[in-house]
Symmetry: C2
Subunit: 181 residues, 2 copies
Amino acid sequence: MPLVKTSKEEILQKSAVLIWEQGYKHTSFADLSKACAIRNAHFYYYFKDKEDLMAQVLQYVANHVKSKIFDLAYQDNLPAAQRLEIMGRKLKTLYCRNNSGCMFANITLEMAHTDAPFLEIVRSIFGDFIAALTHIYEIDMPGPAANKKAVRAVQQIEGAIMMMRLYNDKSYIDDALNNLL
Amino acid sequence: MPLVKTSKEEILQKSAVLIWEQGYKHTSFADLSKACAIRNAHFYYYFKDKEDLMAQVLQYVANHVKSKIFDLAYQDNLPAAQRLEIMGRKLKTLYCRNNSGCMFANITLEMAHTDAPFLEIVRSIFGDFIAALTHIYEIDMPGPAANKKAVRAVQQIEGAIMMMRLYNDKSYIDDALNNLL
DNA sequence: GTCTATATGCGGATAGAC
DNA sequence: GTCTATCCGCATATAGAC
């Protein structure tokens, strides 16, 4: 673990923003190298190919979201409503950044028809999301019911993000996040 | 209106399947011309460019979905539950065909970051979907509440489709469609 | 209307100098 | 590790014969 932000981490961070916004296929190395201020060919020093870059970008964002948002669900000293309220606020910031919605949903709908290996990372992060909400809901109901409620909450949120982006109207996501409880 | 299916309609139908499955950018004219059994250059006889083809494909699918599914909502002689049940069955067939989910959601997440003119067609079809469900829900509740319920139902369905495709598990969409009432 | 041929540019990826 | 230069293939799109 380096003391200062490595060049590679900057590449991951800046690439993530672009791919999040534009998608995997729509984002070329020309776009990426411009945003990262490095040469096109330099990506191949850090990454095997575009698919490898994508996998590392997804893992980078997934780690960030897990530690900054999903982990809040396990603060068992706080009441459930408060945990959900904080998570909801952070999720809204996440989804509204650059009007790009949920990176993992974007990639799912773009790539589900392929067998791209990085989809496994997407499956994992949605599993973490549902597990986090299930943990909170289990306070008031048995496990299976809590899990079902968590799945429906995630689905409602993802549908709301789609509507928000299509109609450029944040009230959809506000409504979904305010109804997490 | 020609008496027999025109060549152009076949092109629209076959192009729709491919683009639905693979997305707009991922589908090349090479893919399309193979599927339609015509020459690459021949597309430019029927369509101005790829964007024009896409707009006509979307309109073609939208017309089909409207007349075959959404119109069922206005069969006021049938009880609400029965209308929802029939629509749910037809929607499931639609979304599970080729495991490709909802074409309009796919295109939304792929293209929302652009100002592609064909997004207007997508907005229109989601408006029709919500209007159809609202019409049914209005039997039992005032307009604004019915509309809110319809929006949430659509969001739940679109989120469920995403989960279905990600985990290759139809139980997500079954659950969402069984809870339309 | 349908074909062949091809223009033109951009995509990902690599070689090899420094 | 970072650069320049470049390969190769595929993308959209067009020209023009038949």
